[in-house]
């Protein structure tokens, strides 16, 4: 192996024309990924992007690493096989709200419970982009789309609560164009040993424009977005005077100084607290971003390959002749 060379964003760009619509949030996510990877210190050839189908799933084509643009909803399965057999590789799964939560919902939850050490990024634009604008499992109820002219009647999933319920060991949320935050989340996801789930709110200017305007608009976002930071009180707002208080098992939005509320009343974020993370997942205003939950759990490929090692230790490296001989034989002279 050659000595590690410091890589740059450029090293991760491909010659392929990027084929998203102008203004698509996917561009920002791509750039942030290309900016983040050089900092991780993983050689390009050790990095693999695996995606399903959707606009978002074109992502691997634009990353100058190994990549596999697979089939709709199945990226987690292919990533699992790769990671189990090649644990040394750094594996990223790229998926959309349709890919991961509609057709691929089952693979998502099973990946999370098994906990292989991979990163799964869900680009949530709350719409099916590639197929031109049908509602997705994260579309708000009542949304009018091509396939729901009178508005959807399907209550959406809450991706944070769903993945927590599935037993995920790392659950986070970020925003396509919040470069610093997103890069930070990508690094934290990568740093977590186990399956990391990151929901990235992503604008689709063509079929669901402005879905996250409130979250990204400079004028409003301070009053809308709650940055979760481990060990820090959940304060937000332009004047950082709004906060979250836990009352009887539910979360209340309060204002410092009003009704006698002081900073000590404000809930302190604890990434290790599962039920609190679940509660935070249910918050719609403010919109929490950051790491909701993180716990160390045994890693799937460690366990599986550990059994191989243990078997070899106990029984010795398998001998083929012994295998075919089996327990009882007879000889014809």
């Amino acid at each position: 192996m050659t000595a590690p060379v410091a890589l740059t964003k450029k090293d991760f760009e491909t010659a392929n024309d990027v084929r998203w619509c102008p203004g698509c949030g996917d561009y920002a996510i791509l750039a942030n990924m290309q900016r983040t990877l050089p900092d991780l210190g993983i050689p390009r050839e050790q990095t693999v992007f695996i995606s399903g189908i959707g606009c978002s799933s074109r992502f691997p084509y634009y990353m100058n690493t190994y990549g596999f643009h697979t089939i709709h909803g199945r990226a987690p399965t292919i990533a699992t096989g790769l990671k189990l057999s090649r644990p040394e590789l750094s594996v990223w799964i790229i998926t959309g709200d349709g890919d991961a939560l509609s057709i691929g919902g089952n693979h998502l939850i099973h990946l999370l419970r098994r906990n292989p050490n991979v990163q799964l990024l869900l680009f949530n634009n709350r719409i099916y982009g590639l197929t031109k604008g049908q509602f997705s499992p994260t579309s708000e109820i009542g949304k009018k789309t091509k396939s729901s002219p009178m508005g959807t009647v399907d209550a959406p999933f809450n991706p944070i609560q769903l993945t927590l319920g599935a037993g995920a060991s790392f659950v986070a949320r970020s925003v396509d164009i919040e470069a610093k935050h997103l890069q930070d989340m990508l690094k934290r996801a990568h740093g977590h040993r186990g399956a990391s789930f990151v929901e990235i709110l992503q604008n689709c200017p063509i079929f669901n424009d402005g879905a996250f305007d409130a979250v990204t608009d400079k004028a409003t976002k301070a009053d809308i977005v709650l940055q979760l930071e481990h060990g820090k009180p959940m304060l937000y707002g332009k004047e950082r005077n709004k906060g979250i208080r836990l009352v009887n098992g539910t979360l209340d939005v309060v204002t410092l100084g009003e009704n006698g509320v002081t900073e000590t009343d404000i809930l302190v974020h604890d990434e290790a607290n599962l039920s609190q993370a679940f509660l935070l997942g249910g918050l719609h205003l403010p919109v929490p971003v950051g790491v909701f939950y993180r716990v160390e759990r045994p890693v799937y490929e460690d366990l599986l390959n550990g059994q191989v090692a243990e078997a070899k230790e106990k029984k010795g490296d398998g001998d083929l002749q012994q295998l075919v001989n089996g327990a009882s034989t007879w000889t014809v002279p």
Partner: protein
Amino acid sequence: MDQATKVVEKREAVVIRFAGDSGDGMQLTGTQFTQESVMAGNDIGTLPDFPAEIRAPTGTLAGVSGFQLQFASYDIYTPGDAPDVLVAMNPAALKLNLPDMVAGSILILNSTAFVQKACEKVGFASNPLEDEAFRHKYRIYAVDMNKLTAGAVEGMDITGGARTIDRMKNMFALGLVSWMFHRPLDVTVEGLKRKFGSKPEILEANLRVLKAGFHYGETAEIFTHSYEVPAAKIPAGTYRSITGNAATAYGFITAARKAGLKLFLGSYPITPASDILHELSQYKNYDVLTFQAEDEIAAVGAAIGAAFGGHIGLTTSSGPGVALKQEAISLAVMAELPLVIANIQRGGPSTGLPTKTEQADLLQAILGRHGESPVPVIAASTPADCFDAAIEAVRIAVKYMTPVFFLSDGYLANGAEPWQIPDVAAIPEIPVTFRTEPEGFQPYGRDEQTLARPWVRPGTPGLEHRIGGLEKEYGSGMVSYSPENHERMVHTRAAKIRAIRQDIPPTEVFGDERGGLLVLGWGSTYGAIRSAVREGRAKGKKVSHAHLRWMNPLPADLETVLKRYDTVLIPEMNLGQLRMLVRAEYLIPAVGLNKVKGRPFTKSDILEKIEELA
């Protein structure tokens, strides 16, 4: 009357069927008797037959589990047609199997179970043991097995008491027939020791019961005859008995070893394929990773992921599960990754007859995907042949960078035969080259002879590239929507699979080189066809046998071979799937013999048709 005064008859071949409740341990009894028979040097063929329910209610027809075995002093290929001997542990077992018994055959009945109510429950007007006509038609041995079993362990203090003891009566039956056919007990004794090693008291009881059965035959007056089936003249060598599923598992392990790679199995349990998963999960020290996935799609997906990672990706299932895998297999076709999909066929359509055998997934394998999506298909023909076919499947998959279907079926999967153990050192290596040279690298560049694209392990510096399910540009592998490129790639993928013909040896024919009737078979019909053709020839019929291993592509010489015969007969356990391919390919008016009963052909099924045509 001691053994010496009993008559010993010589027989060339005997067919015996054990039948009882699902809980009566008939599968174990059959398997042990098989082991004894192979140790006695006979050639054997077996056919287990059990219900889809785990344990249907006792004493019902639905709950009957059976195991048929033929053992012979010459080489046989099947578990035999009508049994010479039926061991029936209760009236339901007798009722269900009686239609297969010819007059004069031997019935060994557990008389304990033949009480009036049980007989009526399964539709006997009265207790057959008390029916004169019945007693004259067959050679009946009514044995009070429960009582004799209990007697054998008298005085022992056994956990579970009477219930546990009751369940040992199969060992009594096994001891008895072992005496009757001069089988050595040692292998069963060894087997029981392995099974009950940790429960010495249960072991002791089982051994006592087994021996009691043996001695009962020796001493009881009703048994006047015993039978000797001399050892078969089979080629010198070391043998073992093997089932199709075990041979399949060993074949894949061997192939991965010969390729110097890990074997990765992604699987979701399904009858009758699950045993391959069970088998492989025991051989982790052979660098075997088994992943029990959440469904069949995840199973094949993971196998594709492992193949992308540079290992041998395998997925095992049966028809309904394979249906779910087809979209992903199509991805492997486009990505041109090696992958083996093993389909252990069962009765369909839909859930169908999960524990019965059938060959009706051939066209699903060859033609059942969307788009022009060619996949080579290999079919094993006997339980032991599963070993070789599995190795060959892997060899072709990595040589041509393609998914390969491996077809077996319920009959092969659970059936057993003696297997001359191969010298593994003599099995050729499977050459695998991973590309590492960046200079001139084209992800979809091709080997001239095989048309295979290069296999690159992620992790190889300088060869970073992206693949996927959208149409690929010839050479570069970039996404391409060009009409000309698409047509070129469709033809290239087809040509690559056709090129596998260069790896298929010339078609062998058993019988005449030309003229008369050719029976063309594939898969598990091998034994029945070969026996029938041999017998037909012995009777002077001009009939020959060719058996296909590669179903796609068909051998290059097949057209010439087929056209050398006046008539081509294709027996299949489906409505004529190979027949359709042969007719379409060669415009030959092949005749079909189709049995879709969830049961293998018998020799006479085929012989009858031969006599009609030849």
